[in-house]
Symmetry: D3
Subunit: 322 residues, 6 copies
């Protein structure tokens, strides 16, 4: 009808309508005040929705999966955006935390489901997963994070050298996984996939600290050595069975040629077809939530980053519904 | 809530909900299959909505008019888009005609109003006004068009030289005012404002034919001779009082520096501040409908064309409501 | 001399000069009125020509093929563009059909050739191949289509849901292969290569219908499983020997990173080097015509889509001439 | 030498070298965490420096003023940027405040000057002027602000409706002049020039509150009524003589056609030539500091916004030095 | 026919076909190796031709002039481009000089004309006018230049400070008018219009030297003081009657908002409508040649600079033909 | 501090401060006057520096190499740019030659080093390596060039057909390796990697001439046949041990999707991750100098070309320092 929802899905104001039930909700988090370099991801949700306009439920059959995720058992809706201030990161964190507390205390639409609805969050910068994981932990206990990113995002806040420190600036898009682990929200079997960041100092201490936080690492270049199947095998071996998994896709895991529209670009990443192929090979995972973050439209070109993100959302919903 | 409606106005599916009443409706017409050169205006409605996201009813007071158009007596809503095929202009014309027939047979929300709701249409190419005027004529009788454009748009179809002619290709964005006049839908006091198009042949025959169609012409360059007040005075003198006026704004009336995102650009146009000033000086006109057309996002830069269009919509709504 | 022809080739007005003979003609079809989403491909011919300006016959030796296609036995010329209206798809279809009827009734320049000149068409949207195949059929009988595309383009028109149907809207860039097959113009051994489109409904019915139309399918992701050589082997096995083949390259077969400038983008496609490699491995095919379509300059960046298309044209001409 | 300083001026690290003296310092404030809409102004200083690379002191004679500001009595340098966190606006405010406290406690290079060096700040978002004015007040007492902007920037923080309020979010780019006035830092004779913002609610209360804060208002449209000379006359009459004036140029005072690269665009602004003409007519004002803010390079096109800003800096330095 | 010539005019290879006669020739000079800052103007001719594609002789009536310049007495053609090396400015100068010597020794097509054909040159950087004026001088004697530019272009080469000097680097786009005057090619009544460049040193010496070279100066800002009619009056008074005039339009005379696609941008210029209005008011001048230079497509946006240039060419041809 | 140096390294004016010692210098050469097609590489150094701003020595550990190149034994600095005229290629060649003569006659900072400092040059077009190699030859004798490029760059100048020849135009970005070899500056074991250029004429004569010049060739497509490890093996076998190697990276070796911002684009190149992987596998080579050239910012998108170049510089410095 001209009003952009994700894939023309029905829109409900999930946060306000307390009696609403649903199974999978697409929800935007237009927040980018915790980035270290280029902002703009606050417009990510709007851009991903615009890039999804060639998706319709009547032509939504996913040939890779053999289902149409919008016409299965699940009620899939677009929840709109979480309200969040750009000017005070502490307040923003509270707002996002309250929103997900609200959403994860709902019932699913599908009869017999004992889980709350599952959410695919559209970032926003990567810091938004801290409030999400805090609330998932309350429902499911420790969460295993499958983290696609060129960066570690497990830097302790003091690794960001600056003149002054503050509690608010600890909440940033490079430290939220460190915070999540410190708070006890994560399992011991988390995975980074697609890494290629420069590290602090003159030795491997960032990696050592990351080990202590319970993360396995798959570097971007490994695909050149063990191939795509090697990457998939590694993830499948490392990922715990039957325990709650959260899939977080920082779009900067992709190569800049495929995803220029992001804030902290690292050359030498994966191709979109490779990432989609990996995601499709993980269908039997117990996914309790997912996101696509760091899509920054002001730096995008011809929508290619938003289109990649839109496809990833589609694949994530497919996996949740299958 | 993250779902783009014009100015965050409430959205209703006006075409489907037959019992819906409203006073002013913003409606998109994503149609550009009747253009002679660069297409893309089918994405105009979406772009104008996106560019209006800094408008909210709580901060909508128009300092130029002294009212907040979203908090006056009128119920102003976003009707979404008219469904329209891009692949068959004859069929598209039928679809648009039916849609406006539908919309103009409604009652207004405001008690005591004897008019149907008034619509501000977001183009789409300029041909969309033919179905609009056909339906306005059914309600109001002959319409006076105040036509802001760098082009005449009163060319008879045979002035588009080509190898073959066809009925369908007669419906194009340069001939629809000729067709409207031929069909008897227009008054004798229509006005073109902002003209600067090249003409056919080697003499003034285009202008002569335009005279016969009942149009007055104000060329773009006149602002350099008689000033902005001169332009306004001329329009006010020419425009009939107390008879139904339709205001059509082809965004290419603006200079390319202010509105690069359009299909048939003509250098040397008016500045946005001049157009807004003119529009604001015409508040006492009996406006029965209005549009902003030919916004072509693929050729826009930094949203400036869409922002201009969004402002013009706001000014048109202000005039309708005042 | 400053006037852009493809690769600085000599320009003749092939449609008008009835006595002109040539062997390979590059011809533009600036038509995009049958697209379902983003228009702009009408400017494809102009953009491909501009992107070919670094090609000259004196430096045209193709190291992949071992010949200089512009200095072999063949007279290769730029025929300019087919005149075609954007405003009436039925009329446009007639205009294009007449143009190819005209061109394919010529004699070749090369003595002893019993074929008419062969044409490499620059789209325009993909619907342009219907009039081409209609005329090729008249010369050669049933044609085998090797169809590089992310989409099937064999959808029956009624699979495009809309409020009204019409005959004119049946002619669109997703149904022309269905129409061609229905009209009996195609062989039973056609191939889609590079598919990754979403399908209709909740099952494989699109694929089943495609089977019935005589198409084999190679999905984009197969390159991740069987490698580039696997793809080539599959095409070579499927393609009939010694029968007339038409090669149609929808530029959206490429990944959006390599070809952002197109209308209906699908993430996860092939790299340009892969497509060129495939094309070069098919030199012994009896090519009776070819095209590159769906290049949409308004969405291109730094000419990369047009450059890819320009290279593909060069490779296609090489194959025709070798 | 290839290292971009503003206008190839010598660079000193003013904040670190405590013994450094200078007369006019260009200083960047790469901070944009207090914006309400599009971020990106943190890259403003870098873009303005890049756009100034065609300025050299040996070809720096300002024909409008009759002097070369880089070869007069004053030592003009580029101080580099203030370090400032993007992730905690409260901390950022402290960092900026300390930086200007530091800078304004220096001595000038020019013998006999009793003033500290004067600074031209490159924003950054408009909120950066709060720490600047706080420190100017400490040196000069109440400051008169000549505020070029399409927005009031005197909104009390509670006029930004949101779900929760917080102290940190009060510090934003629309409220800092309200805060400055509340803190007693401003005179009673401040001027807004170029206004065209929508206002809160349904009446003139924003303007009334602005009156109470000691501001005069010149709307953008007045140039259409009283002309450029009228605007200049008005400013000159309103501006107090012989008292310290701070000139703040929010680049959004310009029309979007001239300055697309900013965060909160308002159509219908002044042309660059008009703004420069106004600035040049105010040479006899006692300028104690100045800025150009809200230049957001991700939204700029062909550098035109940064070029305008670079020119404005040049004119401001000229006025300070003359 | 799809092959871009200026305004779809017939194309002849004027330099090669020695027997060709014509009255007005459009000729491209794809040379930009004498620029001091951003190159790219070598693609100017191609861009101006592309931007002229909406011009056709059958719809070419100029309403400002009352004629259709393409259907008057004159044979107007597109001569293509002058061949010119980008890698050796001395050689390039020789190539351009020979080309114009060739062209200006032809006869006109119009019977009774005693003049050679007149050329409208599409730059290229501004240095291209030196070989043009050298050859015009040979035909007409001293030439009066009406020079629209934001820059003087009468700087003696030694005003470009550098480590080494050379004869070749004297030929640059800021000194060619100095060279032309030194060589005795110009009259004493030349005019700069639209100036706003910074000057050398600390005084008016650039202007003084310009005086000695026989130039009058009209600064850009004068339009704010004496209005558009004032500018026109000044030019008309200064321009000698009945003596040969060359009109050179450096596109940077326009404001960056109207002409971002140029190499050495100066903010605060004229609007396109103002320049066109000035050009149209000079119809009775004896124009022996003209150009539009410094259009640099890599920095253009949405073709607006090329469109402005294309319009200026149209107006110049109109004046030549009228 | 806001002043862009490469990777925030300390800046010294290496050419002017004759007593300065250092081990690795990053130096810009803003010269593009020897290109055959699109200029713009003169802004390459500035763009590469801007794209390196997310590099800091405190977070500079290279996980691929296991060292932090900025905190090893070596003093790494940014030398700024070489001054060079754009308007006279002969003079420019002299200026560049003198600059490298100057730089390569310095002593290293590292005690015990008998080599002069090593330089990583930021182009600029590819012709800049002629003056570099001339000076390296004076220090080290014949140099082996490892040349990453889609083009041969060993064309003898007469292979550039044109109307006139000249000595200055022999110095161009396609012939400098031919000139270097002719002058005896190169070894017999040079390597081209990534070739995919069209060749002259109708046979392999370009390759034959290249053989005679002592070059081995690795075509771009070989990666599709022998894989990335095959490419690396081939380079390692061909590259002489213990003799001085110069690594030259023409950014057009990358695919246009990864490096659109260059002048002479060839589709079908390597991915950035492949090039980085190759570079990292060559750490034991005796590198005496290196460059990244042909980065042309006006044609770049979202900085992706400059980011790739910035990463390559980082890898080259890593190899030099390891
Ligand atoms: Mn991340
Ligand atoms: Mn990341
Ligand atoms: Mn119109
Ligand atoms: Mn129009
Ligand atoms: Mn297709
Ligand atoms: Mn397709
Ligand atoms: Mn402001
Ligand atoms: Mn503002
Ligand atoms: Mn000039
Ligand atoms: Mn100029
Ligand atoms: Mn090269
Ligand atoms: Mn190359």
């Amino acid at each position: 009808s001209g009003i952009n929802t994700y894939a023309h899905l029905p829109h409900d104001r999930c946060l306000i309508d307390k009696n609403l039930t649903f199974d999978v909700g697409i929800i935007g988090i237009p927040y980018d005040s915790s980035v270290s370099y280029r902002p703009g991801a606050r417009f990510g949700p709007q851009a991903i929705r615009a890039a999804s306009q060639r998706q319709f439920s009547y032509r939504g059959f996913n040939f890779r999966a053999g289902i149409n995720p919008y016409q299965q058992w699940a009620k899939v809706i677009d929840c709109g955006d979480v309200p969040v201030t750009p000017m005070d990161s502490s307040l923003a964190l509270k707002m996002m935390t309250a929103a997900f507390d609200n959403l994860l205390s709902r019932e699913s639409a599908y009869e017999g489901s004992s889980m709350p609805p599952r959410l695919v969050s559209l970032g926003g910068d990567h810091s938004i997963i801290l409030p999400i994981i805090r609330n998932l932990y309350k429902v499911y206990g420790p969460i295993t994070v499958l983290h696609f990113d060129s960066h570690l995002d497990t830097w302790s806040p003091e690794k960001y050298p600056s003149y002054w420190q503050s509690e608010a600036s600890e909440f940033n898009h490079g430290s939220m996984l460190w915070m999540a682990k410190e708070e006890g929200l994560l399992s011991e079997h988390n995975i980074h996939a697609g890494l290629r960041t420069r590290l602090s100092g003159t030795d491997w201490s960032d990696y050592l600290e990351d080990d202590h936080l319970g993360f396995h690492r798959i570097e971007s270049d490994e695909i050149l050595k063990i191939g795509l199947d090697g990457i998939i095998g590694k993830i499948r071996r490392l990922l715990p069975k039957n325990s709650p998994v959260y899939i977080s896709v920082d779009i900067d895991v992709l190569d800049p040629s495929a995803a220029p529209g992001t804030g902290t670009v690292e050359v030498g990443g994966w191709l979109t077809r490779e990432l989609v192929y990996i995601l499709r090979s993980l269908e039997d995972v117990f996914i309790v939530g997912a996101d696509v973050v760091e899509v920054s439209p002001p730096f995008d070109q011809s929508e290619i980053t938003a289109l990649a993100a839109s496809q990833i959302v589609y694949e994530l919903v497919t996996s949740m519904v299958k």
